[in-house]
Symmetry: C2
Subunit: 273 residues, 2 copies
């Protein structure tokens, strides 16, 4: 069972070449973990989607409809992941959004991927491809992802699990498909994403869990020197959860998993998030 | 006759939801004017496409194949425009580009749109949506166009023909779907696009024509004060050619078409570019 594709609720792999999702990347997406035939952290994903819709002026579908379609896509699969794309639909050839867009919703389920992270943490690298700054798009999980594509094209060594990306001004912002956290003197730090980066669902869960644990958290600018000074580094995303980093190539090695990552790993796993 | 759609040479309006053009905006496009069943300035468009392919690591199709498909798409239409999209094709769900992508080429022809620019120049406005800076993507006509979509969503007054966009640092860079030129004391100025903006085909033609006319040209940073100080302003793109600006709302009016725009209009029309 390799997963299903639903386009506007119909089993199909096709969308129109006139779809603004293709023409302009005019849309949003969510990549969601699934277990027992249901999406995990569904409400958080829908909150972010709604926020993206508000900021792009894109009317997003009813979460109940999305939930039902995700469950349909997971029949026979159970666990794995679901990628949802919501685009501004087909339209005439102009950047201007139609006044009443016929929004396209696309649901694609996939079987779980084998996890083979080393016990002592993943190896990550620093990418050269920078992230442009634009407060209008920052935080959104929109379909304009060429920066991430170019960053991932920088390496093909399978022992390197991820790449950290910097903004054009040199700040460390995120990994290509994950948020990044640092621990220094027991304090948890993650980069501010006011002008680039994605407001990851797992990032939000980790920040909330840290507050529950009374771990001091800071959302602030992170510079390369912060990586070298950190006691722990870990990445987060909705599919892979918390991933301790054992080494940042050219920066340093870390004793992984560190204490904070371990606590968060346990917490996010126990709570089924 | 409303135009034809060819996907990889086959009459079709459908592409796969797995196409990286949709998933990530991982592709390039060209919007080209057509006359007498052929694309105008085809070589210039193909040069830009090839440069984009080099910079994105995307193998672009043979120009002869593209030319033949454009001509097929124009049968029964003759004049109008052709939009070509070249994407990195379908792939598994990862930002990392496949080693050997099955590139998708999409050719869509359209009938000519009626031109109703006022004789004394178009009215343009200043957009609030900024352009992010990223030298890796600057100049390319790639499929990540959310900034332009948001800029065009800022107004719906049909008497406003275009909107000028600024970079996040305040420099004036381009219009939503055109390059911008200023004339000051007989000198032609257009913004540098080293870190954002598109290297328009008509921009290149106008710069070349100006050199032929021995009009001094400067490619440099343009700030809002330059707009107020300009004797003429005009926009360029491959479909609409040279469009004199009669007013920038909130900045000033211009006597349009100015002398330089008039000379370039005649030159670019006579040469059939």
């Amino acid at each position: 069972m390799i997963g299903r594709r639903l386009v506007n609720g119909v089993e199909s792999s096709a969308i129109s070449v006139d779809d603004r999702g293709l023409q302009y990347g005019d849309g949003l997406f969510e990549t969601m973990a699934a277990m027992n035939g249901r999406v995990r952290n569904f409400e958080r994903h829908m909150e972010r989607l709604a926020e993206g819709g508000r900021r792009l002026g894109l009317p997003v579908p009813d979460p109940n409809l999305i939930a039902a379609e995700c469950e349909r896509a997971l029949v026979g699969l159970g666990a794995g992941s679901v990628k949802l794309m919501v685009t501004r639909g087909p339209g005439p050839r102009t950047y201007r959004p139609p006044a009443e867009p016929a929004v396209t919703r696309i649901v694609v389920s996939s079987a779980p991927k084998p996890r083979n992270d080393p016990d002592d943490g993943i190896v990550v690298r620093l990418c050269d491809t920078p992230l442009g700054l634009n407060p209008r798009l920052a935080g959104l999980k929109h379909l304009n992802r060429l920066e991430q594509v170019l960053a991932c094209a920088e390496w093909d060594d399978p022992t390197i699990a991820e790449g950290l990306m910097s903004a054009v001004d040199g700040r460390i912002v995120c990994a290509t498909a994950a948020n990044v956290f640092l621990v220094r003197d027991g304090q948890l730090v993650t980069p501010d994403i006011r002008d680039c980066g994605v407001a990851g669902v797992m990032r939000g869960i980790v920040l909330a869990a840290a507050r529950e644990f009374a771990i001091a958290t800071q959302v602030r600018d992170v510079v390369p020197a912060d990586l070298a000074a950190a006691d722990e580094v870990f990445l987060t995303n909705a599919i892979t959860g918390v991933r301790p980093v054992g080494e940042i190539l050219g920066v340093r090695r870390y004793a992984a998993p560190g204490e904070v990552a371990r606590a968060l790993l346990e917490r996010t796993t126990r709570a089924g998030v």
